[in-house]
């Protein structure tokens, strides 16, 4: 037994974030920690990392009582966290990052030879000895940075490594690579805790699971002995029988026509497709295949270099988001924190920002109308918030995403460009967004859904196109695709 938690509780004021968590992580094994957003996973991680002290309960590390009071104590004891947002110093080199905070030194001067040895050894532990040591890490891909981060954990002698949603920004190949690294670390006797929303990933990488719900550990065991429905039942405490609702919708005439669209760096490279009224059009592909770039250049956030976009028979000018908005286009950014939302502003501002004129008269915003519109959206999307005047940044990820989506509803977009709308959000929020997308399709809107989550594309879309290296390699009705053929096409092996 590497790490054992017993009856951990933690409250913040009146909010009970953890209400009794038991956890056991064994050396040489991967434990999948599963739960909706807001189930208490991040609080639990903060307790283990020493950022919060638990109100009740005990922790043991290798049989010794373990009660870190600050993150430093926890990392000294051999516990490493790999967060969703990577914590590398982007301007420093790989080597410098690997020893950051633990630089080998003689009399205050860096021992460069020793540093190189440590860095090499760390990269070898994670089977990535080929990564360049002298390049600033901002030159590396996101996947490579993550490997560097894990290698850094190893270099610090980590006995327990906790990975928080490590694959949320990785493509399939990088995910596989990461899994090899995880397996290699487990084989070396490290205990790993793997947090993810993706059940099939958990099954692939972990042996045992632990489900958190409402701050409690509600079930655990061996993953092979439980099916997805059983896990989801544990997670949400109810049956999610209709995660992908089947709402009948009829396809009309083409609403959005993209022709030979091309952008800088061959992303996209002469892509043509049409989306009809009432159609949910999926775009599958690996990260970096150019899907995001298509949405951004259609909407006008990026400048397209060639091609044309026609909306309801009239061409759309490139590079003018304001005009696109007026023509009924709405873009949900893949990055809600950095682009999608005004985190320090309230829900009302975020919902109404793109169409303030609808709640204003003579240039002045009516707060009353702004709040009324927001409250309607809060109800429609089941946003968990105390009021429309709360800062969006204080909501959980799923509820933030509902707000970002709600803005498209407020602006009454008829062509919805959704970029990874369900990335990193909980099942409950996903269900809400799925239903909204299909309801919009029912009313004759065109929905373009970019997603790296294949079950979602197969469950929702009428038509799915697959992107590979900037090109749209295949467009077919949903019933002619399955996960295997989508992946084959995305890898360019069709």
């Amino acid at each position: 037994m590497r790490l054992r938690l017993r009856g951990i509780e933690k409250s913040f004021g009146a909010t009970r974030a953890l209400a009794g968590v038991d956890l056991e992580a064994h050396a040489g094994e991967v434990l999948a920690l599963i739960g909706e957003n807001g189930a208490g996973k991040s609080t639990l991680m903060k307790v283990i990392s020493g950022a919060h002290s638990p109100d009740a309960g005990t922790m043991e590390l290798d049989g010794q009582p373990f009660a870190p009071h600050q993150p430093r104590e926890s990392s000294d004891a051999g516990i490493a966290m790999i967060y969703q947002e990577l914590t590398l110093a982007l301007h420093l080199t790989t080597e410098e990052n690997l020893v950051l905070g633990r630089e080998p030194a003689k009399l205050g001067w860096i021992d460069r030879r020793r540093r190189r040895e440590i860095a090499r050894a760390a990269l070898e532990t994670v089977n990535h000895a080929h990564l360049p040591l002298d390049v600033p890490v901002r030159e590396l891909s996101v996947a490579e940075r993550q490997i560097v981060e894990i290698a850094r954990a190893c270099a610090s002698g980590a006995r327990v490594i906790i990975l928080d949603e490590p694959t949320s920004s990785l493509g399939r190949a990088d995910v596989q690579n990461l899994f090899h690294v995880i397996a290699a670390l487990a084989a070396k006797g490290v205990a790993l805790i793997y947090i993810s929303h993706f059940l099939e990933e958990c099954r692939e990488v972990a042996k045992r699971y632990l489900v958190l719900r409402d701050g409690r550990s509600v079930g655990g065991g061996v993953l092979k002995e439980i099916d997805d429905n059983g896990l989801i039942r544990l997670m949400v405490g109810r049956e999610v029988s209709e995660l992908y609702p089947q709402l009948p919708h009829t396809l009309g005439e083409p609403l959005l026509k993209v022709e030979k669209l091309a952008g800088p760096d061959s992303k996209p490279r002469g892509v043509s497709f049409a989306v009809r009224r009432g159609e949910v059009f999926g775009l599958a592909g690996l990260i970096g295949a150019g899907r995001t770039e298509i949405l951004r250049s259609v909407f006008g956030l990026d400048q397209a270099s060639a091609g044309s976009v026609v909306v309801a028979g009239t061409p759309l000018r490139f590079g003018r988001p304001r005009e696109s908005l007026a023509r009924g286009l709405g873009l949900l950014s893949e990055n809600r924190k950095e682009e999608g939302l005004l985190l320090n502003r309230d829900l009302a501002d975020n919902f109404t920002l793109s169409r303030l004129d609808t709640v204003a008269s003579r240039g002045f915003v009516s707060r009353r109308r702004q709040l009324a519109a927001s409250n309607e959206l809060i109800k429609r999307l089941d946003v968990r918030t105390k009021s429309a005047e709360q800062a969006v940044g204080t909501l959980s990820g799923g509820n933030q995403q509902k707000v970002a989506f709600g803005r498209l509803l407020h602006q009454q977009a008829t062509i919805l460009l959704l970029d990874e709308p369900t990335r990193g959000i909980d099942v409950g929020a996903k269900a809400v967004l799925y239903r909204q997308m299909l309801e919009l399709a029912q009313t004759g809107c065109a929905v373009v859904l970019v997603s790296s989550y294949l079950p979602e594309l197969l469950g929702l879309c009428d038509t799915i196109g697959v992107m590979c290296r900037g090109e749209l390699v295949a467009v077919r009705p949903r019933d002619q695709w399955d996960e295997h053929s989508l992946m084959t096409a995305a890898l360019g092996r069709e």
């Binding site: 909010t15 988001p321 304001r322 999608g340 985190l343 320090n344 920002l353 793109s354 204080t394 803005r407």
Partner: protein, 354 residues
């Protein structure tokens, strides 16, 4: 679950203006007590604290006269702070404000000297500051440059222009203090025409008050104002939502220039001459007032009432220190401490919120 509930937010968080307001009342109360205590002990000059409470006949800080004087002295910084609030809320900064105040006042003075009407002079001063704002905003959004750098450069340029216009000396003009823009900063009692008590503040204070009401409304309620908040909160989101971010930025600096130019006109009305070396370092006082008032230099947060309170607090500190007979270096140290303290308190207040 992990969503903090609103009713757990302290009322300080819900009404962010209360923080600076308490700060101001605290400063005023403190001086009131100190001035009074000094009076009590003024008979015992051998006491060790006698040095800090030197003899002075008056033993009351909060007299109508000192309040009126404090208000008058606040007008220039507070007017500039109205403009700076817009700029800071939009995620920018304007280091050229002090120089532009000088430029505007010198240009106004030059026009007065050539015999034009006082209102034309004021208009010219304000327009010149708005032009500088347009250049600042245009360069910042056109070349995607850092506002800090662009306005730092403009700080030198505007100061140089002011000296050029003034031929490197003060611009004097023949104008009675009871006429034209000059009435803005002069006590109505001194104007002689009306029978009013000495403490009644000059019309500039009223103008400031009206402008604060207007700007508070514009920032919080107008579509433009909400767009300014959005721009400062997250420029990428603003673009995503179809805001004309570049144009908006120029507009922000032009509007800021309007108030900075007006501060220049107030400066002129107070000095009764155009001095190209005036208002050196004023930009920092203005920025400090805005920040004390609760604005965040990262943008998206701020209030004009807060900024005015911040400006009042600094003037109160200054006039209090003068009345206590403290040397000017003590004032400087205290004001420096207050700026750091105000922002520090604000940080603690917001901790745990997100």
């Amino acid at each position: 679950m992990s969503t903090p509930s609103l009713h757990r937010l302290s009322w300080l968080k819900r009404y962010p203006l209360l923080g600076p307001l308490f700060g101001l009342l605290f400063v005023l109360g403190l001086f009131e007590i100190m001035v009074y205590v000094r009076h009590l002990y003024s008979d015992y000059p051998t006491e060790p604290w006698a040095h800090f409470f030197p003899l002075e006949p008056r033993y009351n800080f909060l007299t109508a006269y000192t309040i009126g004087l404090t208000l008058t002295q606040t007008v220039i910084v507070a007017t500039g702070a109205l403009g700076m609030t817009v700029i800071i809320v939009a995620g920018g900064i304007d280091l050229s404000a002090g120089s532009v105040v000088a430029l505007a006042s010198v240009i106004s003075a030059a026009i007065l000297r050539s015999g034009h009407s006082s209102w034309l002079a004021a208009l010219a001063g304000i327009l010149s500051a708005m032009l500088v704002g347009a250049v600042n905003g245009g360069v910042i959004s056109g070349f995607r440059m850092m506002p800090f750098i662009v306005t730092l450069g403009m700080m030198g340029i505007a100061r140089g222009l002011a000296k050029w216009v003034g031929d490197n000396q003060t611009v004097n003009y023949n104008f009675k203090s009871t006429e034209g823009v000059n009435i803005l900063m002069n006590n109505p009692a001194q104007l002689g025409s009306w029978d009013v008590p000495l403490w009644v503040p000059p019309s500039g204070v009223i103008v400031l008050l009206l402008l604060t009401v207007v700007m508070s409304f514009v920032l919080n309620r107008s579509v433009f104002g909400r767009h300014v908040f959005a721009l400062g909160s997250n420029e990428d989101t603003a673009r995503l939502c179809g805001l004309r971010t570049r144009l908006l930025k120029v507009g922000v600096y032009v509007l800021g220039g309007l108030f900075i130019g007006l501060a220049g006109v107030f400066t002129l009305a107070r000095l009764q001459q155009g001095d190209p070396t005036v208002a050196t370092g004023l930009e920092l006082e203005i920025i400090a007032a805005v920040v004390i008032g609760g604005a965040s230099l990262t943008g998206g947060v701020g209030s004009v009432w807060g900024a005015v309170i911040g400006a009042l607090m600094m003037t109160a500190l200054k006039s209090g220190a003068v009345q206590m007979g403290w040397p000017s270096y003590v004032q400087e140290i205290i004001i420096g401490l207050v700026i750091v303290l105000a922002v520090g308190v604000d940080k603690i207040r917001h901790r745990g919120g997100s």
